[in-house]
């Protein structure tokens, strides 16, 4: 408990950011027309690929001899970038159908 309190008081701003981000996420999505649910899900999925930044940090920081870290990092980067690139591309394709008719 104490540790938690300490963590909070050390990371107060982080917590504000957290809470505010949650509010924004909620506000942004709340009134979305249901036709957009799937593309939105897909877009959000691509965004969650931001985890790639972590994977990159793993690889950047890894000792070149630490094959395990490098290997796992490699896989993490591959998977992460697939998530990002594939995610945005698929979303884009889904949204083709919202092209206006002439």
């Amino acid at each position: 408990m104490n540790e938690l309190l300490e963590f909070i008081s050390n990371n107060l701003e982080l917590i504000y950011i957290l809470i505010l981000a949650i509010f924004i996420g909620v506000e942004l999505i709340k009134n979305v027309p249901s036709v957009l649910h799937t593309p939105l899900m897909s877009g959000a999925n691509a965004l969650s690929g931001v985890v790639i930044v972590g994977a990159l940090l793993v690889m950047l920081q890894a000792n070149p001899k630490d094959y395990l870290s490098l290997g796992l990092g490699f896989v993490a980067v591959v998977l992460g970038i697939i998530n990002v690139i594939g995610g945005f591309a698929v979303t884009d394709r889904m949204l083709q159908m919202f092209k206006k008719k002439k």
Binding site: V77, L79, G87
Partner: protein, 461 residues
């Protein structure tokens, strides 16, 4: 941290918020997606080049290789996949994101041991990452059709026990402190298993909801790794996805008129599941349900729509709404007409009286003989409260009481949407194979309510 990188991250975060926001409106969605993508790429490039520690060139080469491989693979899959397979693809990608978080957690566990707060962060990343990984794979397989729903008694209980065990075990690891790689592997394994257990019993039709939920979890996993690195773009981006995904999950449940717990737990025990079970046709086909919003999209992006009114339209007194729908579609450039079967309704000219009341243009009403040849180039047929007059048994089934009656050959159209309240029969008292047709989607509900929903969905597009 490098100040430029900080600002890049800040910009990326802003693009995420803006992108997500724009994704919420049909007109801006495409652009929103692009904006977020640009932000993401900025963040990636920034991360690679603007750090302040030394990196061996081998690492750079490996990073380049990984990015290249992943980009090519991701791009190709995304471009090649059929339109209908997209949702499962999203699930697959999502699983990859989860796996990435999981791997990061595993690598970092060694570095972060000791600080309880950091350990718990790592553990959370591993557990959540793994669950989304396997969960998404199962969802993918199910949507794929390569895995059937499995329903076991007491599944619910079993599942919850595993979850609780997972939580207890995680707490234990954190409490213990110190480096226990072995325990971490157990945790990893248990999480992977739980991901599977979690998704397996959920019905195929509910998959989109589950994917959205898993997506939200991936976001949280990303955020947690963000905390690990004190990295703002991961933190905010992840949280955004986490909260947006969760809300989206609820919204989707809402649109299906179900609660989330009903989706997740409803499937267990085999009792609450009747509502989801579709009727099965003579030829063994199943009925495909659709929602007002999906139907609205189909109609909106069609070039030619034919409406087939029947007795149900009269019962529901939905003549005014159907006219509104017709006008709305016409204003969107869709070519709309009505196919009037000579015995639709319960009296000669029943549909005429009805549609005249709502001032439907006489020219829009097409006789059976004139409309039948048009069905092959009709994109969508919308059948409202009609049944016998579109029953192919009239052609195919000599034993049927309506055998020999001419019908509207809606089967020849590209898509068929049928609105009625249930699977009940019509006047002739016989089941209709059309409902089980591959091309058919059933839009259940009272005609007036269903059409009103359709109209408001269309208005939002």
């Amino acid at each position: 941290m490098n100040i430029t990188l900080s600002i890049i991250y800040l910009i990326a975060t802003v693009t995420f918020v803006i992108g997500l926001k724009m994704l919420g409106h049909p007109e801006t969605a495409k652009k929103g997606n692009l904006i977020a993508a640009v932000g993401m790429i900025l963040a990636i490039i920034g991360t690679i080049f603007l750090h302040d520690f030394e990196v061996a060139s081998i690492n750079y080469i490996l990073i380049g290789a990984a990015l290249l491989v992943g980009t090519v693979v991701g791009w190709l899959i995304a471009i090649k996949v059929e339109m209908t397979k997209m949702p499962e693809l999203v699930s697959l990608f999502n699983g990859f994101g989860g796996a990435s978080a999981m791997l990061i957690g595993i690598v970092e566990y060694g570095n972060k041991v000791g600080d309880a707060m950091q350990t718990s962060t790592v553990i959370a990343a591993i557990a959540i990452g793994s669950i989304t990984f396997t969960g998404s794979l199962i969802a993918w397989a199910k949507l794929n059709g390569s895995m059937k729903d499995i329903r076991l008694p007491k599944y619910n209980l079993l599942n919850n026990i595993v979850l609780l065990g997972l939580l207890a075990f995680s707490t234990y690891i954190v409490m213990m402190g110190g480096n226990h790689l072995f325990l971490i592997y157990i945790l990893l394994f248990a999480s992977l298993v739980y991901g599977i257990l979690f998704v397996i019993p959920i019905g195929g039709a509910d998959m989109p909801v589950v994917i959205s939920l898993l997506n939200s979890l991936t976001g949280i996993a990303a955020a947690i790794t963000g905390i690990l690195y004190g990295n703002m773009v991961m933190l905010v981006g992840g949280i955004l996805v986490g909260s947006a995904g969760l809300i989206l999950t609820f919204v989707m449940c809402d649109a299906m008129n179900r609660s989330l717990s009903n989706v997740i737990f409803g499937a267990f025990g085999g009792d609450g599941s009747t509502e989801g079970v579709a009727a099965v046709g003579k030829t063994g086909g199943t009925v495909k349900k659709t929602t007002a919003s999906d139907a609205a999209i189909m109609l909106n992006y069609a070039s030619k729509v034919v409406i087939v009114p029947g007795y149900g339209l009269a019962v529901a007194q939905a003549q005014h709404v159907i006219h509104e729908l017709e006008l709305l579609l016409t204003s969107k450039g869709v070519d709309v007409s009505y196919a009037i079967h000579p015995v639709a309704g319960r009296m000669p000219g029943h549909m005429n009286v009805l549609l005249a009341e709502s001032n439907v243009d006489y020219d829009k009403l097409i006789e059976m003989d004139d409309i039948n040849p048009q069905f092959p180039n009709t994109d969508v047929v919308l059948v409202v409260g009609a049944n016998d007059v579109v029953n192919p048994a009239a052609h195919n089934d000599p034993s049927s009481p309506i055998y020999g009656m001419p019908i509207l050959d809606v089967e020849n159209a590209k898509h068929i949407i049928i609105n009625k309240r249930s699977m009940n029969v019509g006047y002739a008292g016989i089941q209709n194979e059309l409902f089980f047709n591959q091309k058919t989607s059933m839009l259940f509900g009272d005609a007036k309510a269903a059409l009103t929903d359709l109209v408001s969905e269309l208005k939002n597009m």
